[in-house]
C-alpha cells in the first residue's frame, strides 16, 4: 500500500478532553445555523395563534368565536372539542393539564382556543376577537394564598428523615427558627417555543419541535391525535436555549400544530409571541422554606427540621421531582446528624411551574445556606467558618450520610473550598472589607464563599438510560445520532469527540445529525445535567461495537493477532502495515462487515425508594465553590458585583472550553435568579413581567467586573463515567449563591454583623434597601 498518500499526525483533531469550539460556532456567527423558524416552509404553511383566559380561576360560561372565525385569513379555530385523541398534555399521566381548557380556567393566560390562519400576524390578531363569558371562582397565586385557602397539593409530598430530629432539636444548646422566600425564574431562552408540523400519508406526521425531550413530544402528539407512537417522528437539530423550559413546555405547541396539520392536511407552524410564551409556559418554582435549626456554641449543626413549600401552579407537571430535588439538596454540602425534611407542593392559580436548570436543587441549597448564615450571625462568626465546620466528612468518618441515606463517597468539597479560599485571598479581603465598611457611611461591601455539591442522575431511575446510532459509510465518513438534544451546551460536540476518539479519526469526519425519534427511540429528556454522561456512553457503546467488528475483520483479512491491530490517528496499524482509515473501511465493506451499530447505556448503581425516603438516587456528586465580592448602596439598595472567583469540579473535563462556558453562563444565570429577575403577579392573578421590558435577566454589564473561573484540574470522577468526566450543566448555577450572600453581608454591616439580614430572593434593589432599613432599626 502506498504510504506516501497521507501525512501522519501524532494526534487527531478533536479527541476527548480537548478544548474544541462548539460544532456550530461558525454557523452561529454567520447566521446560517437553522433554528426551526428558519427552515424553509412547505408551500401553504399555516400559522397559529392562541386565545388565552383573562381570568385566574373561573368557570367557562360561554365561548363566542364567531368574530375569530370570520377574521381575515383565518382557516379554522380549534377548541378542546376538536382534539381527536385526548385533550391532555400532562407529562405525568395525571390528566390534570388540558391542551385547551373546556370547562374552567385555572390561571390567567390559560389557552382556551387556537386559531389557524394564513399568516402569523392574522392568527395573532384574530385570537383577540373572542367573546368569552366567565363565572369567577376564588383564586390564589402565591404560597401564602395557597396556605390561607387550604390549597391541595399537586402531588404527594416527600419526607426525608434520619435520626431523631425532634428530640435533638430540643436538646441542642442553641436553636433558630425562621422562614425564607425564594422567587421563581423565567427561562428566557432566546429562541422562543416553536413547532412545525408536516402531515404525511396515513396517520404519519413529522414535527420539528424546539424541545429537550423529543420522545415525550412524540408521545404527546400521538396521545392528542389518538394514534400510535410509530406514526409520529419528532426532530430537533438545535434549540436557541432550553434551560429546562423546553423539557415539557414544548408539548403544547407541538401538539396543537400537529392537530391542526392533520385536520387541514397542510403544514402548520406555531411560534407564539414572546409575551404569550412567557405567559403560557411554566417557570422555576418559588419556594418558602420554614426552618428550625439546632446547633452548639461552635456552630456545629445538631439537627434540622425544614419544610420546603413550592408554588407549583395549577397542575403537577414536574413539580413532584422538582420539590423532591429541593429536599435532596436541602443539605447543601453539610452533614446533618439528625434531620427531617418535608416538601409541600402547593397548587396555585398560576401557570404550572416546571424544570429549570438545577430543578429545585438551587432552592434547596439556598435554604441550607440561609441556616448557615443564621448560625454565623448569631455566633458573630464568619459564615465560611460555620460552613467548613459542617462539611460532610471523608469516607470512614461518621459524617457521610445524607438525609436520604446515601453515603457521600467522593467528597472533595473541603479541598475545593480550601484551594479557592487561598487562591482568591479570601481572608485578607474579608478583613479589608470589614475595615472599609467601618469608614464608609453609604457604600458597603460584602464577600461570601459558598460551596456546591450537586447530585447527578435523574431521581426517576428509569430515565437514566440512553441510546445512540453510529454508521460508517464506505468513504470512511461517520454518521452520529443519539437521543440527546443540543441547546447550546455543546453536547453534540462532546459526543462527537467521544466517537472521534474511539475510532481515532479527526472530528470533521463525524457528521452530527439532528436528534430524531426515528433513529433513536425512547430517549430521556436532555436534562439533569446528564446529557454527556448518558449519550456519550451510549455513543461510545455503538462505536465500540463497530470497532470490535473492524478489529475482527482486520485479524481475518490480514491474518494477524488482535494485539497487532492498532487505531492510530486517521489510520490503522495492522501487523507491519499502515492503512488509512477510509481505505480500511472500504475494505471492511467489501468484506461484508456491518458498519452500523445502535449503542445503549444505563447508569449503574442507582436506585431510589421515594416512599421510604431511602436509596442511592445519585451516581456521583459534582462539586464547586465560588467567592463573590459586592458593593451596595445603602441609600437605594443598588449593587454591583465587583469580583467573582470560581473553582469547579467537572472531573476530567471532556471539553474544558465548553465546560468553562457552562460554568460562566450558569453562574450569571444564577445571579439573575437571585438579583434582578423578579416575577410579579397582580391582584387579578395576571403575570405582569412577561417580556424583557419588564423581566430583567443579566446584561454584559451585570457580570462580575473581575471574573476568574478555573476547573479543578486534579479531579477525576471516582465512578467510571465517560472519560472520567462529570456533569456540568446545573451545578455551576448554584455558585451564584455567593453573590446573594455577599449582598447579605454588606447589608449585615449596618448592624455590625450581629443580625442575620434574612434577605429574601431575588435581592432586588428594593429588597436590599428594605433589609438595610430593617437592620438599621434593629442594630
Amino acid at each position: 500500500m502506498d504510504k506516501s498518500t497521507f501525512t501522519t499526525k501524532p494526534i487527531i483533531n478533536g479527541p476527548m478532553h480537548a478544548p474544541l469550539r462548539h460544532d456550530s460556532a461558525h454557523k452561529h456567527v454567520t447566521g446560517t445555523a437553522d433554528y426551526i423558524d428558519d427552515i424553509p416552509e412547505p408551500i401553504g404553511t399555516l400559522h397559529m395563534g392562541l386565545g388565552l383566559s383573562d381570568r385566574a380561576h373561573a368557570e367557562l360560561v360561554s365561548i363566542d368565536l364567531s368574530a375569530v372565525e370570520t377574521a381575515p385569513g383565518v382557516v379554522c379555530v380549534l377548541t378542546g372539542e376538536d382534539i381527536p385523541g385526548f385533550n391532555d398534555v400532562a407529562s405525568t399521566g395525571r390528566h390534570d393539564e388540558p391542551l385547551l381548557a373546556t370547562k374552567d380556567v385555572q390561571f390567567h393566560g390559560q389557552p382556551i382556543f387556537a386559531v389557524v390562519a394564513e399568516t402569523r400576524d392574522q392568527a395573532r390578531r384574530a385570537a383577540r376577537l373572542a367573546r368569552i363569558q366567565y363565572r369567577d371562582l376564588p383564586h390564589w397565586t402565591d404560597i401564602d394564598g395557597a396556605r390561607d385557602n387550604g390549597a391541595p397539593l399537586v402531588v404527594e409530598p416527600m419526607v426525608l428523615k434520619r435520626g431523631e430530629p425532634q428530640t435533638e432539636i430540643e436538646k441542642a444548646p442553641l436553636r433558630i427558627q425562621g422562614s425564607m422566600s425564594i422567587g421563581g425564574q423565567e427561562h428566557f431562552y432566546l429562541e422562543g417555543q416553536i413547532a412545525l408540523a408536516i402531515p404525511g400519508e396515513d396517520e404519519d406526521i413529522i414535527v420539528w419541535s424546539s424541545t429537550q425531550h423529543p420522545s415525550e413530544v412524540q408521545h404527546m402528539v400521538a396521545h392528542v391525535l389518538g394514534i400510535a407512537n410509530n406514526a409520529v417522528e419528532v426532530r430537533t437539530r438545535r434549540m436557541g436555549g432550553g434551560f429546562g423550559g423546553k423539557e415539557t413546555q414544548g408539548n403544547h405547541f407541538a401538539a396543537l400544530a400537529a392537530v391542526a396539520a392533520k385536520k387541514l392536511k397542510r403544514a402548520v407552524k406555531f411560534r407564539p409571541d414572546r409575551d404569550e410564551d412567557m405567559t403560557v409556559t411554566g417557570k422555576r418554582h418559588d419556594f418558602r422554606v420554614d426552618y428550625d435549626v439546632a446547633f452548639d456554641e461552635d456552630g456545629r449543626i445538631h439537627a434540622v427540621d425544614a419544610t420546603y413549600a413550592a408554588r407549583c401552579g395549577f397542575s403537577a407537571d414536574l413539580s413532584g421531582p422538582v420539590t423532591d430535588r429541593a429536599l435532596f439538596h436541602a443539605d447543601s454540602s453539610y452533614f446533618y446528624p439528625h434531620v427531617h425534611l418535608t416538601s409541600q407542593p402547593l397548587k396555585t392559580h398560576t401557570v404550572s411551574n416546571t424544570a429549570f436548570r438545577g430543578f429545585g436543587g438551587p432552592q434547596g441549597v439556598l435554604g441550607a445556606e440561609r441556616m448557615i448564615e443564621e448560625i454565623a450571625y448569631a455566633l458573630g462568626k464568619d459564615p465560611l467558618e460555620i460552613r467548613k465546620l459542617n462539611f460532610y466528612g471523608q469516607q470512614g468518618s461518621d459524617r457521610t450520610a445524607t438525609p436520604y441515606h446515601q453515603e457521600v463517597e467522593d467528597n472533595v468539597i473541603a479541598r475545593i473550598v480550601e484551594e479557592l479560599e487561598s487562591s482568591c485571598d479570601y481572608q485578607a479581603r474579608r478583613q479589608a472589607i470589614i475595615d472599609f465598611n467601618a469608614n464608609s457611611p453609604v457604600i458597603r461591601k460584602g464577600i461570601a464563599l459558598t460551596p456546591v455539591k450537586f447530585g447527578i442522575s435523574f431521581t426517576m431511575t428509569a430515565y437514566n438510560q440512553a441510546g445512540a446510532l453510529v454508521h460508517i459509510y464506505q468513504d470512511g465518513s461517520i454518521h452520529l445520532n443519539h437521543g440527546g438534544t443540543e441547546m447550546g451546551q455543546g453536547l453534540y460536540t462532546k459526543v462527537a469527540q467521544v466517537v472521534a476518539d474511539t475510532f481515532q479519526v479527526d472530528i470533521d469526519r463525524v457528521k452530527i445529525t439532528a436528534t430524531t425519534t426515528g433513529k433513536v427511540p425512547n430517549t430521556s429528556a436532555t436534562a439533569a445535567s446528564s446529557g454527556s454522561d448518558l449519550n456519550g456512553m451510549a455513543a461510545y457503546d455503538a462505536a465500540r461495537q463497530i470497532k470490535e467488528r473492524l478489529i475482527d475483520f482486520a485479524c481475518r483479512q490480514w491474518e494477524v493477532d488482535r494485539s497487532e491491530v492498532e487505531f492510530l490517528p486517521n489510520r490503522l496499524r495492522i501487523g507491519g502495515e499502515i492503512v488509512p482509515f477510509d481505505t480500511f473501511v472500504r475494505a471492511a465493506y467489501y468484506g461484508r462487515v456491518h458498519l452500523s451499530a445502535a449503542g445503549f447505556y444505563k447508569t449503574p448503581k442507582i436506585h431510589w425508594d421515594r416512599e421510604a425516603g431511602r436509596g442511592r438516587p445519585f451516581y456521583y456528586f459534582s462539586y464547586g465553590a465560588a467567592c463573590s465580592e459586592v458593593s451596595i448602596d445603602t441609600l437605594t439598595g443598588e449593587y454591583l458585583v465587583d469580583r467573582t472567583d470560581i473553582l469547579h469540579d467537572v472531573g476530567r473535563s471532556l471539553n474544558p472550553a465548553l465546560d468553562i462556558g457552562q460554568i460562566e453562563g450558569g453562574f450569571v444565570q444564577g445571579m439573575g435568579w437571585l438579583t434582578t429577575e423578579e416575577l410579579w403577579w397582580d391582584a387579578k392573578g395576571r403575570l405582569r413581567t412577561h417580556a424583557p421590558s419588564t423581566y430583567k435577566i443579566p446584561l454584559a454589564s451585570d457580570r462580575p467586573k473581575e471574573f476568574n473561573v478555573k476547573l479543578a484540574e486534579w479531579s477525576e470522577n471516582a465512578e467510571p463515567t465517560i472519560g472520567r468526566s462529570k456533569a456540568v450543566g446545573e451545578p455551576p448555577f448554584v455558585l451564584a449563591i455567593s453573590v446573594f450572600e455577599a449582598i447579605s453581608m454588606a447589608v449585615a454591616s449596618v448592624a455590625d454583623y450581629t443580625v442575620c439580614p434574612r434577605l429574601d430572593a431575588p435581592a432586588t434593589p428594593e429588597r436590599v434597601l428594605m433589609a438595610v432599613e430593617r437592620l438599621k432599626q434593629m442594630g
Binding site: 454567520t30 395573532r124 432566546l190 436557541g240 453609604v442 441547546m487 446584561l699 454584559a700
Partner: protein
C-alpha cells in the same frame, strides 16, 4: 410625489412600494427576503437578536448604527443602507474578524442571540479602534445572552479591536464610496413619498415644512421618529395605524446647538446623537443617557419622542424639567414655546394641539455656582425602565443658603413632576444636614406613587427621600453613587 421608498439592502438596491405603515424591517427580512440570520427574540427592542446596522448620511458622512429590526418600520428606511449578518463574511466565505473573534473566544453557545451580538460588535468595531470595557458594555447593553454569561463575548470585542486587516476585506469599508454615492442620489430626489397599502399610508415628508403641512391636513396621523415606543403599539398591542408620518430622516430636526445660554436639541435628535454634546455640557445628564435603553434604542429613539409621548417614566423629562428646559411646539403656521413642565397635563395627556408637533427643546446651561445631579433607579442597571428617576438642580448663595432649587421626578406620579413642597421647604434655608433631614418628609406631600412590578410605593417614597440625601452628600464633595466604571475609564 413618489409612491415607493428606495434603500440599499446589503449589496442590493431596493425600491419598495407595496407595504403597510406598520410592517417591520424584521418581517421583511425574514419573510419576504428569507434573510433568516436576523432573529426575532422579543419583538419589542429589548433583546437585540434582530440587530442590524442601518447606514445613513449625516453631517459626518456615512454613519452606521445598530438598530432593532423588530421595531423598525419599513417607512423609516428611505435613503438608508441596511446591513444584515449575511453581508459580513468575505466573498469566499471567510469569516469577518468580528465573527472570527466570536468563534475563537467561544462567544456563542445556543447561537440564537449570536447574529445580533455580531452586528452590535461590528457596529462598535466600525466606530472604535480601541474600546474600553465600559464602551464594550455600553455597545452590548441592548443584547441579551442567556447562555454565556457574556465574558467570552466581551473578550471577543477586546480581541478584535486591533485586528483590522485590509480595508478591502470589510464590506462597508470596501464599498463606502459607492454606497455614499447611491444614498446621495436617492436623497437628491426631493419630494414627499406616500406609500399606500390596503388604505393605510406611510408618509415620508420631504422637509419639515412639508411635515407641518401634512400634519395640518391629517392631525390624527401618528408621528414616528425612532419608533421605540410606537413599534410596541404594533408588535404587542397589535394596533392598526392608518396614517404614519415618518420624520427620522428630517435632518433639519436633528441639530444640537450649543451656545453660552445652553443647548438646543432638535426633536429628531437621537439619544446617541445628543450624547456627546450633552455629556460635555452636563456630565450627569450624559451618564443618564448611557443608561436609556440599549445602544440600538439610543440609536433610534429621540429626546423629542421621549417628551412627546408623555410617559410618566420617560427618563429625560425629570432632568430637563429640573434644568428649566423650554419646549417649542410648531404648526404649519407658527410656533409657541412653553416651559417643559407645563407640557405634561395629566397621565396620558399633553399640551399638544391638533396639527402641532414638538420641534425642539432648549436646555439652559446650569449656572456656574450650581449643582446638578440626576439619578435613575431601576432593577437592572442598564437597559431598564426607571422605577424612579430624580433630578436636582441647586444654586446656593454666598452664605450657603438655597438660592434656587428645582427637583423633578419620574415614576412618582402620573406625569414627570416637580417636588414643589420640598423645593419650597428648602428655599432660603441653609444647605445643611439638619435641614435636609427635616425636609425629607415633604416628599410625601408632593408624591403618592403607585406600587407595580418595578417597585412598591414604599420603596419609591423612601428612595426619593434618600436621593435628596445622596445629592446633599455629593454637594458636600462626597461621591456616593455606585459606578461600574469611573469617568476616566469610560
Amino acid at each position: 410625489m413618489s409612491e415607493a421608498i428606495r434603500f440599499i439592502l446589503n449589496a442590493e438596491e431596493v425600491t419598495l412600494g407595496d407595504f403597510g405603515p406598520t410592517e417591520t424591517l424584521l418581517d421583511y427580512l425574514r419573510l419576504k427576503r428569507r434573510l433568516t440570520g436576523t432573529k426575532e427574540g422579543c419583538a419589542e427592542g429589548d433583546c437585540g437578536a434582530c440587530t442590524v446596522l442601518v447606514g445613513r448620511l449625516t453631517e459626518h458622512g456615512l454613519r452606521y448604527e445598530s438598530v432593532n429590526a423588530c421595531i423598525r418600520f419599513l417607512g423609516s428606511l428611505h435613503g438608508t443602507h441596511v446591513v444584515t449578518v449575511e453581508h459580513l463574511a468575505g466573498r469566499d466565505g471567510a469569516l469577518h474578524p468580528v465573527q472570527q473573534a466570536m468563534v475563537d473566544c467561544h462567544g456563542s453557545q445556543c447561537g440564537f442571540c449570536t447574529p445580533g451580538f455580531v452586528m452590535s460588535l461590528y457596529g462598535l468595531w466600525l466606530s472604535n479602534d480601541a474600546p474600553t470595557r465600559a464602551e464594550i458594555e455600553s455597545a452590548l447593553q441592548g443584547n441579551l445572552c442567556r447562555c454565556t454569561g457574556y465574558e467570552p463575548i466581551v473578550k471577543a470585542a477586546e480581541q478584535v479591536a486591533a485586528n483590522r486587516p485590509s480595508s478591502l476585506f470589510d464590506p462597508l469599508e470596501r464599498d463606502r464610496i459607492q454606497i455614499m454615492a447611491k444614498l446621495w442620489s436617492i436623497q437628491s430626489e426631493n419630494g414627499t413619498i406616500v406609500v399606500t397599502k390596503d388604505g393605510a399610508r406611510s408618509i415620508i415628508p420631504a422637509s419639515v415644512a412639508a411635515f407641518a403641512e401634512v400634519l395640518a391636513e391629517e392631525p390624527k396621523a401618528t408621528i414616528v421618529a425612532g419608533a421605540t415606543d410606537v413599534g410596541l403599539w404594533v408588535t404587542k398591542q397589535m394596533r392598526q395605524l392608518d396614517a404614519v408620518i415618518f420624520i427620522n430622516h428630517l435632518t433639519e430636526l436633528q441639530s444640537v446647538e450649543v451656545d453660552e445660554n445652553g443647548i438646543t436639541i432638535g426633536a429628531g435628535v437621537s439619544y446617541s446623537q445628543a450624547l456627546d454634546k450633552i455629556a460635555d455640557e452636563i456630565p450627569a445628564f450624559g451618564r443618564l443617557i448611557d443608561r436609556i435603553g440599549g445602544q440600538q434604542v439610543r440609536n433610534m429613539g429621540t429626546i423629542g419622542g421621549n417628551i412627546a409621548n408623555g410617559s410618566p417614566i420617560g427618563d429625560t423629562p425629570p432632568p430637563l424639567i429640573a434644568l428649566g428646559a423650554e419646549l417649542t411646539l410648531r404648526t404649519h403656521s407658527g410656533r409657541r414655546t412653553i416651559p417643559l413642565e407645563d407640557f405634561f397635563l395629566s397621565y396620558g395627556k399633553q399640551d399638544r394641539l391638533a396639527g402641532e408637533f414638538v420641534e425642539k427643546v432648549f436646555v439652559p446651561r446650569p449656572r456656574d455656582n450650581s449643582h446638578f445631579a440626576v439619578y435613575k433607579i431601576s432593577k437592572r442597571r442598564d437597559e431598564d425602565i426607571s422605577a424612579l428617576c430624580g433630578a436636582f438642580n441647586l444654586r446656593l448663595d454666598d452664605e450657603g443658603k438655597v438660592a434656587s432649587i428645582r427637583i423633578a421626578f419620574g415614576g412618582m406620579a402620573g406625569t414627570p413632576k416637580r417636588a414643589s413642597h420640598v423645593e419650597q421647604a428648602l428655599l432660603g434655608q441653609a444647605w445643611s444636614w439638619g435641614v435636609i433631614s427635616a425636609v425629607r418628609d415633604a416628599f410625601d406631600q408632593d408624591y403618592q406613587p403607585l406600587s407595580d412590578w418595578r417597585a412598591s410605593a414604599e420603596y419609591r417614597s423612601l428612595t426619593a427621600k434618600n436621593l435628596l440625601t445622596r445629592f446633599f452628600l455629593e454637594t458636600a464633595g462626597q461621591g456616593h453613587e455606585l459606578r461600574r466604571f469611573e469617568l476616566e475609564e469610560a
